[in-house]
């Protein structure tokens, strides 16, 4: 069973509340949901919509064909009716305009009825989330206005809803984060907001500096003093941070970087998604120095990977980059899984304030931290930096650097990473294909090459123009992937469309 419902309106009308009420109700009923959020960079007006996908089995994507429209304005219907399936429904705002600000609550009530869920359950949920007489009345009126179309009986799944941003926040808190430095930039901003609201509860600090250059340099300063530090940004801000990233490589002061991509170069399409920043994550910053780049595909992985990032940064005095994007950061996923127990992060390096003088230098330096231009030391230091990378590689083998999904014995190998993983997993449900999800992009698992060599057909699926993972794999394995499904219009893959594209290549 799978439904896709669009909930749309103008920015500021509160469409997210509809998704929230309905998703939470469905979660309590044991249904899996995936909520895709599509909004332009507009504060009021325009057209915002969510696609709420509902299933009795685990899903991590939305589809292109719609079972229904919940419209807060007429424009929503105009934009989306082309995508409606034959036997679909439309809930129009017209009958509920009297509820004013509670229009969204009325529409949520109407949708709950269509899905065939008991009124008692709706009322409980509204009490839980809003608890005021106007909202309750709106929900009830909405409910009563519709006739039941589906019959979503209670299931026995224990599900929680989480966005990628909330997951990164959780992972940072699990790791005992002390300070988060950031400058607002979509789609990294939700982590700034989440952590800021949690800071007093968890006794950590969230600091907004004057720009990303200050963010990255202050972060190195604070980490040098012995704090567990993370910074967060999107592509443009990351560009500004890269000189400091290079300073990290030289000084070996641990640093965790949360990089959430948006679409396109420069300002691009700021509130939309693309996987176009793998290149800068891997190579940003001058000179040659080790680093870790990890890309979670869903919130559970994001919780775990954020913890790995802190662990590896501290253990190897390196920079760990958590690579996400708008689609993972702002979509709401549901899951029955629990993240694994977080690793403890211990600071064992010398820090100022203790008896010994600690010097960290931007220059090539000797063992006391004093600048040197000595060719012998220059080479020795460079060799040690590379050796450290080998140690990182060894340690990473303890983690799941890659994952397999789909038919484990299939000769058709799909390769992808990050937020695209969800759509791939859902797309290959009944295809003869195995999906290799790359979580660790640096270091890269040696097993990938073996898998590529064994496969009969390889398909690369990525959300960018040039196939950045494909390029990395060619560099590391010598194998270039001919079949590529690339999407770069700022919108994530929809699993039903992706399924057809994969099927075409397989045939």
């Amino acid at each position: 069973m799978r439904l896709n419902i669009v909930i749309g309106g103008k920015a500021g009308q509160g469409i997210n509340k509809v998704s929230e009420i309905v998703s939470q109700t469905l979660t309590n009923q044991g249904y899996f949901t995936f909520n895709y959020r599509d909004y332009p960079s507009i504060i009021r007006g325009g057209h915002n919509f969510n696609i709420l996908s509902i299933s009795d089995k685990k899903i991590e994507s939305h589809e292109s064909k719609l079972d229904g429209i919940v419209a807060m304005d007429d424009n929503t219907i105009k934009v989306h009716e082309k995508a409606l399936k034959k036997d679909s429904f439309v809930i129009k705002p017209d009958n509920f305009l009297e509820f004013g600000r509670n229009l969204n609550v009325a529409l949520a009530g109407a949708l709950i009825k269509i899905l065939g869920i008991d009124k008692k359950i709706l009322i409980e949920e509204i009490k839980e989330q809003l608890n005021n007489p106007e909202s309750l009345k709106a929900a009830e009126k909405g409910y009563e206005s519709q006739t039941k179309k589906f019959d979503l009986k209670k299931l026995n799944n224990k599900i929680t809803i989480l966005s990628g941003s909330k997951a990164v926040t959780q992972g940072a808190i699990n790791s005992g984060i002390d300070i988060y430095f950031a400058y607002p930039m979509t789609p990294a901003t939700p982590v700034l907001h989440e952590l800021a609201s949690e800071q007093l509860k968890h006794n950590c600090l969230v600091f907004q500096n004057e720009n990303e250059i200050a963010v990255a340099n202050a972060a190195l300063g604070a980490s040098f003093s012995g704090a567990k530090v993370m910074v967060g940004t999107s592509g443009g801000g990351y560009d500004l941070m890269t000189e400091a990233l290079s300073l990290q490589g030289m000084t070996e002061i641990p640093l965790v970087v949360y990089l959430a991509s948006r679409a396109g170069p420069a300002t691009g399409i700021p509130t939309y998604t693309m996987q176009n920043d793998l290149g800068i994550a891997l190579y940003g910053g001058h000179g040659e120095f080790p680093r870790v780049v990890i890309a979670p595909g869903n919130p559970i992985e994001a919780i775990e990977i954020t913890n790995h990032a802190f662990y590896l940064a501290e253990k190897f005095n390196t920079a760990s980059i958590i690579l996400s994007d708008k689609h993972l950061a702002e979509s709401e996923f549901s899951s029955e899984e629990k993240p694994s127990k977080p690793l403890k992060i211990k600071i064992e390096r010398p820090i100022p304030g203790e008896k010994k003088v600690v010097k960290a230098s931007s220059y090539e330096s000797d063992k006391y931290g004093y600048s040197t231009e000595d060719p012998f030391l220059a080479k020795k230091n460079a060799d040690e930096r590379i050796k450290r990378y080998e140690e990182i590689k060894k340690e990473c083998k303890k983690f799941e650097m890659i994952k397999f999904h789909g038919k484990k014995d299939s000769k058709n190998l799909i390769i992808g990473w990050g937020s695209t993983s969800g759509a791939i997993k859902d797309a290959i449900q009944d295809l003869d294909a195995k999906f290799l999800q790359v979580l660790y992009l640096k270091p890269l698992s040696d097993e990938i090459k073996e898998q590529m060599q064994k496969a009969k057909k390889i398909i690369l699926v990525e959300g960018n123009v040039t196939g950045q993972l494909g390029r990395l794999l060619r560099e590391k394995t010598g194998i270039s992937i001919k079949n590529r499904i690339l999407k770069y219009d700022g919108r994530p893959f929809r699993s039903d469309e992706l399924k057809e594209e994969i099927r075409e290549v397989l045939e």
Partner: protein, 278 residues
């Protein structure tokens, strides 16, 4: 850790460079503060990139030899990472007023309890003498053979309008006065800024040797207007008028540590984040 805060690193400044004297003033100020109870292991420094920055290798305290222009945010980070540290930032005029001027303007707003010393030799020395924001107009250099076309920036005025809570100027050659002002800057609660007028023995020689025009203020100004007027006496441009030295401005403002309960808590407990129990 050596008793005298010196290191074995070979000094590579040009012979006669006033950076030697700034190093001595700093060393003496720190030693004196240590005598008065400051913990030597709690001192931490940052430097930018430039001739001034080499002081990092010659002063035996902890710190980060950072990036060009980023002295201030790096130092702020060290302080936020452990509010019990006494943090000093050494920077050049290129560092502070060109590459990193944004950080300087914001420093007053944050009022981090730290001290910034700008070695202002009115040129980019390490990169062989190009014009800096404080170089005089018409300064001929290799990058601007026709002469620098813009008037110099007045750092004291900029500091005053940026609401920096401690603003002073010193003469690099005057060890006693620089040491004294530096001690006051370090003990000041909030962001302290010392603009140190420094001759360069290799580049922009035209602005050197102004000692006879310099005079010392008796006390900080009572009003911003007075301070701004005093700041105008020396415009970093023409070789006339007087150059006031000493503390132009000092006021009590809430510090960054005091603004944040999390940091005040660490300060009260006398610990950094590393030793915080959750």
């Amino acid at each position: 850790m050596t008793q005298e805060l010196r290191t074995d690193s070979p000094v590579t400044w040009c012979p006669g460079c006033p950076n030697f004297i700034i190093l001595e003033s700093a060393r003496k100020a720190l030693l004196n503060l240590i005598k008065q109870g400051y913990k030597r292991e709690n001192f931490a420094m940052t430097v930018g990139i430039g001739c001034h920055a080499k002081i990092f290798d010659y002063l035996d305290i902890s710190g980060i030899y950072g990036l060009h222009g980023r002295t201030i945010p790096t130092a702020m980070g060290i302080k936020i990472g452990n509010p019990n540290l006494t943090v000093l930032a050494f920077a050049g005029d290129g560092d502070t007023y060109a590459e990193g001027i944004g950080h300087f303007v914001h420093a007053g707003r944050y009022n981090t309890d730290m001290t910034l010393m700008v070695h202002d030799n009115q040129t980019f020395s390490l990169t062989t003498g190009q014009g800096s924001p404080t170089s005089q107009e018409n300064y001929k250099n290799k990058a601007e053979p026709l002469g620098k076309s813009t008037p110099p920036l007045n750092p004291i005025k900029l500091a005053l309008s940026s609401e920096i809570s401690f603003i002073a100027r010193c003469n690099a050659r005057d060890i006693t006065h620089t040491q004294e002002v530096l001690e006051k800057a370090i003990t000041h609660k909030g962001f302290s800024f010392i603009e140190i007028i420094q001759d360069c023995t290799s580049f922009n020689l035209d602005v050197n040797k102004r000692d006879k025009d310099m005079y010392q203020l008796n006390s900080p100004c009572k009003t911003k207007d007075q301070a701004l007027k005093l700041a105008d006496e020396f415009d970093y441009n023409i070789r006339k008028g007087k150059i006031p030295l000493g503390i132009f401005w000092q006021e009590n403002k809430k510090t960054l540590t005091e603004e944040w309960p999390q940091l005040s808590n660490l300060k009260k407990k006398g610990i950094g984040w590393k030793d915080l129990k959750r």
